[in-house]
Every structure is written in structure tokens, then in C-alpha cells.
Amino acid sequence: MLARRIIPCLDVRDGKVVKGVRFKDHEIVGDIVELARLYAGQGADELVFYDISASPEGREVEPAWVGRVAQVIDIPFCVAGGIRSVAAARARLHAGADKISINTPALENPSLINALADEFGSQCVVVGMDSRKIGGIWRLHQYTGDPDRTLTSERDTLSWIKEVTERGAGEIVLNCMDQDGVRQGYDIEQLMAAREVCPVPLIASGGAGAMEHFADVFKKANVDGALAASVFHKGVIAIPDLKNYLAQSGIEVRP
């Protein structure tokens, strides 16, 4: 049986892993390669590296650390942030990343999704979304790495999920902004709605604070994976304990 995935997310700024609360006040939590090795060794199923400063400043992730990560870890990893072209995606994939994830550039230029899927296959193409409810409708946000530049998009989240999967996205990471960094649990309501319209793997993001939150999101929203950052970086939850807990809760995981 296909296992549910546990995915530590490493937000990267200036070559260091950082974590903020509600996208603000970032603090350094450690070295990229050391943390990648640590989480892979603990049984993480996949890693996501998100260069949170890349989109706002219009620069691209330095592929040098992508290669360093690829050399040391033996689980899949995805690189996100600042990828605006097929060439930028190719550089990261050829350096050893398994997937690339686009967020703001997809909103600005949706045909980039088609171009990436045609060139590399849908399995490499992840679309990330930052979404929160405004006036009763889930709406997308852009440039979320920088609170001063964060914009609310005209697009609603659920129709965007449909569009990007039709364009060839092979996986969706839905970051629920109201819950991000506050550790009160995943946004089950939004993720259930997303699951209804999402025909490809769906990864929950934002809000993990306790092991029960992971069990909840797998059981209630039927997501394929759950992404979290601070609970892992701060040692609130150890991945081996989480895997044991989920297995005992009747959820298929890789031991």
C-alpha cells in the first residue's frame, strides 16, 4: 500500500534554514546539508527546500546547495523559490533535485506549468499555493516570503487547483496561511475542499503542532502527505515517534 508521506520543509534564506511565525520574524535554525541529512536519517519521506527570499527579490536559487543536498541524501527532495523558466528548472533538476515547485511565477505566467510538464514530465512539477479565506472564499497570496510585498491574488484557490492540474502540475502543496506557524492543527476544512477538486497528489501545509494533527489531516482530508517545519526543527515532534504513532492509528506509513 502507498504510504502517507511526512515531509519536513526547510525554508532557506541566504543559504541557511530559517523559520518564522506567520511568515514573519525569521530565525536561523541550522545548516541546509546537516538538517537534510538529519531528517533523511530519521525517516522523513521527502524534503522540500523553499527559498523564501527568492520570489520577492526576483532572484533564483543558487543551485550549488542543491547539488550538495543531492550528494548526501537518499530520499527525494523538491526545490522551490524563484523558478521562473524552463532553464532555471532544468538547472535544479540536473543538479539532483527530484521535483521543482513554483508558486508566484505560476500565478504570473500560468503557461510556465505547461512548459515545465512538457519538458520534464508532470511528476517533476509541483505547484505550491499560499491560501487563506477572505470574505468567505479561499484566495491565493503571492510573494508570501516578504510581509511587506505579500499580495492577495484575484484567483480563488479551488479553481486554481483545477487549472494547474489541467495544465500538467503533478502535485499540489497547499499552504493554509491562517494556520501557518501557529501549531493549532492543519486547516482541515480547506484541505477537504481542495481534495475534492485535486486529481493529483495533495500535500497539506501549515499548522502542524502535535502528532494528532497529522493523523487528523490524513484521516479527514485524505491528503497524500503532510508538510511541517517548526515542530521538527524545534524538536517538538521526532519523526520516528510520529511514524509509530501514525502506524498505531491505522495510517499506512514507511517505518
Binding site: 504510504a3 508521506r5 537518499d74 527525494p76 533538476l93 520534464f120 511528476q123 497524500d224
Partner: protein, 202 residues
């Protein structure tokens, strides 16, 4: 031991190379068959679609060379599928793609239905008969490996190990000196490393 990695500029070549490095092997990157002349074994990696991958193999001379080669060969992911006769992954042309034809069989589109979304992406379990092949030495029934694919080879005469995702999928195959993994051993933790090590040492 000299091992050549067939270099068709596919995206996962760095990952496979680094996985071999972690096992103490520095492979020769062979864009053409001549560059692999001194190698004892070959690995054919691959991600992406069957049509462009076959065109790259034909352009480089690798397609003909592999049809006449007798060295141990391991195909990985799309590289495994390319070993078979024909693929339904038509890149929109409506016509099946002719593959290397080294193993009888056909690559079909996966229809997971109730099993989950398409494509099949994530860690799934291996099922096999113990002792069936040296590649499986040290691997246990139920071990998880990492899959990413939307097309598959149905269980058949060459199947060594299966996984289930709406269908019984050939997870590993063997036909004489030719073997393949549908999953990514280079991204499958200790289990994948053991399978690669078995190939190197076998």
C-alpha cells in the same frame, strides 16, 4: 569495477551518480556507446516521457548498441520501461512508442481508480518470492521504495517483484542479463542502496 551510466541528459542522472558515489563507485558517464567500452556493467536511468527518451537513445547510438550488448544492464524508472517492446505513452500522437525491445511486454497507462491519484507517487511496498534473484538479497517483503510514474509494466513473465496501486505493477524485472527497477533505488533510502549494491556486486 567499472560501471557506466548511460547519459541521455535525463534529469535524474546526478541522483543516480551520487547514489553510486555513496556506495564507493564513480561511474563513467557515457553519452555514446564508445565511452562505455571499458565498463563491465551498465545503468540506464531515465525520467520524463518515453518518446523523447527513445529518440535520445537512437541519436546517440545507444539503442542499437544495447540490442547487441551482453553486459549486465539495470534500467531505472523510465529506463526500465524502455527495455520493453512498446509503450502507450504517446506524447499526444495517438500512436504507441517503439522501445528497445529487449524484454517482451508492453508499457500501459496506470489507472489507479480508487487506489489514489494519478500518477503513482510515493513510497510503496515490494512483494516477491524470497531467493528469486540476487538483486533482492537482503531485501524483505513489505520494504518500502520510492515510486514516481504514470505508466507501468503489468505483472508478467519477467516480473521479479510487484507493488500494488490499482493494478499489480512490475516493480522489478529480470530477463537474462537485463534487469530493471520501476522505482528509484537512488531515492529509496537504505533499501534502494542495497539493491544498487547488489547490482554492483552481483
Amino acid at each position: 569495477m567499472t560501471l557506466a551510466l548511460i547519459d541521455t541528459s535525463t534529469a535524474n542522472i546526478a541522483s543516480v551518480r551520487y547514489a553510486l558515489n555513496r556506495l564507493g563507485v564513480e561511474p563513467v558517464l557515457a553519452a555514446t556507446p564508445g565511452e562505455a567500452a571499458g565498463a563491465k556493467k551498465l545503468i540506464l536511468p531515465g525520467v520524463g516521457a518515453a518518446g523523447p527518451a527513445m529518440r535520445a537513445l537512437e541519436r546517440s547510438g545507444w539503442a542499437d548498441a544495447l540490442r547487441n550488448d551482453t553486459r549486465p544492464l539495470l534500467g531505472v524508472c523510465l529506463g526500465m520501461q524502455l527495455l520493453f517492446g512498446e509503450s502507450d505513452e504517446d506524447s499526444g500522437t495517438g500512436n504507441p512508442v517503439s522501445l528497445l525491445g529487449l524484454i517482451p511486454g508492453r508499457v500501459e497507462r496506470l489507472a489507479p481508480s480508487d487506489a489514489g491519484p494519478w500518477p503513482h507517487m510515493g513510497w510503496n511496498t515490494l512483494s516477491f518470492s524470497p531467493g528469486s534473484d540476487p538483486l533482492l538479497t537482503g531485501i524483505e517483503e513489505g520494504d518500502h521504495v520510492y515510486f514516481v510514474h504514470g505508466f507501468y509494466v503489468p505483472e508478467g513473465a519477467s516480473t521479479l517483484a510487484t507493488t500494488s496501486y490499482g493494478a499489480r505493477i512490475s516493480a522489478m524485472v529480470r530477463h537474462g542479463h537485463i534487469a530493471g527497477c520501476q522505482f528509484h533505488p537512488e531515492r529509496s533510502g537504505a533499501v534502494g542502496a542495497r539493491i544498487l549494491s547488489n547490482f554492483i556486486k552481483g
